[in-house]
Amino acid sequence: MDFAGTASYLSGFAILAGIYAVFALGLNVHWGYTGLFNIGIAGFFALGAYTTALLTTASPDPALFEDFKFGGNLVENLGPANLGVDLWFLVALLAAGAVCGLVALAIGFITLRLRDDYLAIATLGIAEGVRLVFLNEKWLANGSKGLYRIPKFLGDVISPKNYDYLYLVVVLVVLAILYVSVERVLRSPWGRALKAIREDEMSAAASGKNVFAFKLQSFVMGAVIMGFGGALYAHNIRFVDPRTFDPLLATFVIWAMLMVGGSGNNLGAILGAFVVWGIWTGTQFLPGFLSDPNFRFFMVGFLVVAAILLRPEGILGERRVTSRPVPADAEAAAAEP
């Protein structure tokens, strides 16, 4: 492969790894910081992707689509034709986040007062429900045939051959903004309260924290981030159908990323996304059974179990954070048994 080919392959890889890093950040808010067990990431993934796909595609031509009725036409209304800039992308991204946030609000409101694992079962239900709706309601999103011709953001600025490099920058900018804001928010007293809830719900409640409200806010926040991820994904692949969001590549792989990178550490989540996605795409070049997709499927599960057993803190692990007045050696002394 020549240099240009390699560079374009690597940028394609980095775009997907960056999008997965967004999901890993969202999952880190859920699991790493609050201990919320979400096994239906695929549901939020699909909701985010479909929201932006529906809003931005042009109203369907009856000759092209028999059943699909709705296309938001955002590109025409908020695009270069009217405003001179591609403002629609931002609107679509926010809408994808908002839809995921609303669904998370509803499900969280029902389940977060109850046992911890009820949330897991409910998120499993969301993933399945979202999949079934998009599969069966042909008028909504063209059923199993899926939606195509999802527009490119800033598509006319650069030649299609080099478009990936531009989109990589877009993804990395969104990722950086999300990383900085998530870090800031989680370092605030609000974030400390989440950690307190994760460690010991009873004592957090005893110190006057409204555990349910904090959990609900955290669940919604993580889901909004996942919605952004879904939207970024849709404008990259520019095609969505219900099969895109199977549990393996839309839920399990993201769990493996967070567990490997280090839950409770946002940099770890991003690192994990790049490492695991690197292993995932890299192993397809290996000889024999090592490149078998089913073997890689098995390895994803194995990686999660191995991380829990052998290195629960992941590659980076969570940083210990103490109040500024406490000197570092006092903390070390306190850690001694």
């Binding site: 201990g35 067990f37 897991a120 079962i121 399945e128 079934l132 769990w255 098995f298 194995f302 179990v305």
Partner: protein, 337 residues
């Protein structure tokens, strides 16, 4: 199960509600408002759900975590049966289909105990290799559930490595359906499934109430510490619980493959939502409740196809679950915490 003793008598209990609901369904079916055939089919589907849900509920009660790999235990059980019936047995000369009115042959009766024993062994091995280590670290139940998610992925990956991702079938001969009054047509296989489930449930009831290990299991489910101080080896109880849960799940997997006349790797994962819905409906840790919950979900899902697109059947369990979490999160037979 504890609170049964020293409880003031109640005039109207959950049992009456279930009985009333059952009578309403019967009256509606006999007056042809809903199709009797759907009710009957729903009961058979519910019986398969019950086998998985009873084991899941026992495990939930004793180990205190949501065993997410339970659906994939079913898948692996079904595929182990496929190996025996389609590969090993024919080599040994044990090849027969169409036994009596059934599509399958007598080798199935041989395969079920073997599959059960294999899965019981695997479940205990996984407990020793994974869950026991985590228990000794005193991790929270959600981490155990995480580990079971990893194992669920790994098990399905294993199934796909060995048998591929496609759809398979047990050796079978097509047979005419039974024609019963009120337009009910049922395949003879369903009668076998129903009879086997009844035998297993009855056996489990006798095991839990008459044997020492069964009683120890109930005691451990009620209060593990109390069970331990009264001399029960809780580790052994846990092993037996894994064995019972795995045998039931494996049988459910084989029966599901017979029921739907095909098997595929994601069948168990798709079934998981129904299993959890049945467990929560009946009250966590209550095997009889899980049985009732499973039958209710089976019947509701089948009857709903009269008005709702049948492809939404898996989502019905989710809707029932959400309704239950809103109205009575402790389950029909659960006590308010």
């Amino acid at each position: 199960m504890t609170e049964r003793y020293n409880r003031p008598p109640r005039r109207w209990g959950a049992g009456h509600g279930v009985l009333a609901a059952f009578l309403v369904v019967l009256v509606l079916a006999f007056s042809s408002v809903i199709k009797m055939e759907l009710v009957v089919n729903g009961l058979f589907l519910g019986m398969i759900i019950a086998l998985g849900a009873i084991g899941l509920s026992l495990l939930y009660g004793i180990l205190k975590f949501a065993h997410i790999a339970h659906g994939d235990f079913m898948t692996l059980g079904a595929y182990t049966g496929f190996f025996l019936l389609g590969n090993l047995f024919p080599r040994l000369g044990l090849e027969a289909e169409g036994f009596g009115p059934f599509t399958f042959g007598y080798p199935l009766l041989l395969a079920i105990p073997l599959v059960g024993a294999t899965m019981a062994g695997l479940a205990i091995a996984l407990d020793v290799g994974v869950y026991r280590r985590l228990r000794s670290r005193r991790v929270s139940p959600v981490v155990l559930a995480m580990a079971s998610l990893g194992l669920a992925i790994a098990l399905r990956g294993l199934v796909q490595i060995i048998w591929g991702g496609g759809t398979e079938q047990y050796p079978r001969l097509s047979k005419p359906f039974y024609q019963l009054p009120m337009g009910v047509r049922i395949p003879p296989d369903h009668v076998f499934i129903g009879a086997l489930v009844l035998v297993l449930v009855l056996g489990l009831y006798l095991y839990l109430t008459r044997t020492k290990m069964g009683k120890a299991m109930r005691a451990t489910s009620d209060n593990m510490d109390l069970a331990r101080v009264s001399g029960i080896s809780t580790e052994r109880v846990i092993w037996w619980t894994w064995a019972v849960g795995a045998i039931l799940a494996a049988t459910a997997g084989v029966l599901l493959a017979v029921f739907q006349a095909q098997l595929f790797p994601i069948m168990g994962w798709r079934f998981l939502l129904s299993l959890f819905a049945a467990v929560i409906l009946g009250g966590i840790g209550n095997p009889y409740g899980a049985l009732v919950g499973a039958l209710m979900i089976g019947v509701t899902a089948e009857v709903s196809t009269e008005w709702i697109n049948p492809t939404y059947k898996p989502a019905i369990a989710f809707l029932i679950l959400i309704f239950m979490l809103l109205v009575r999160p402790q389950g029909i037979f659960g006590e308010k915490a």
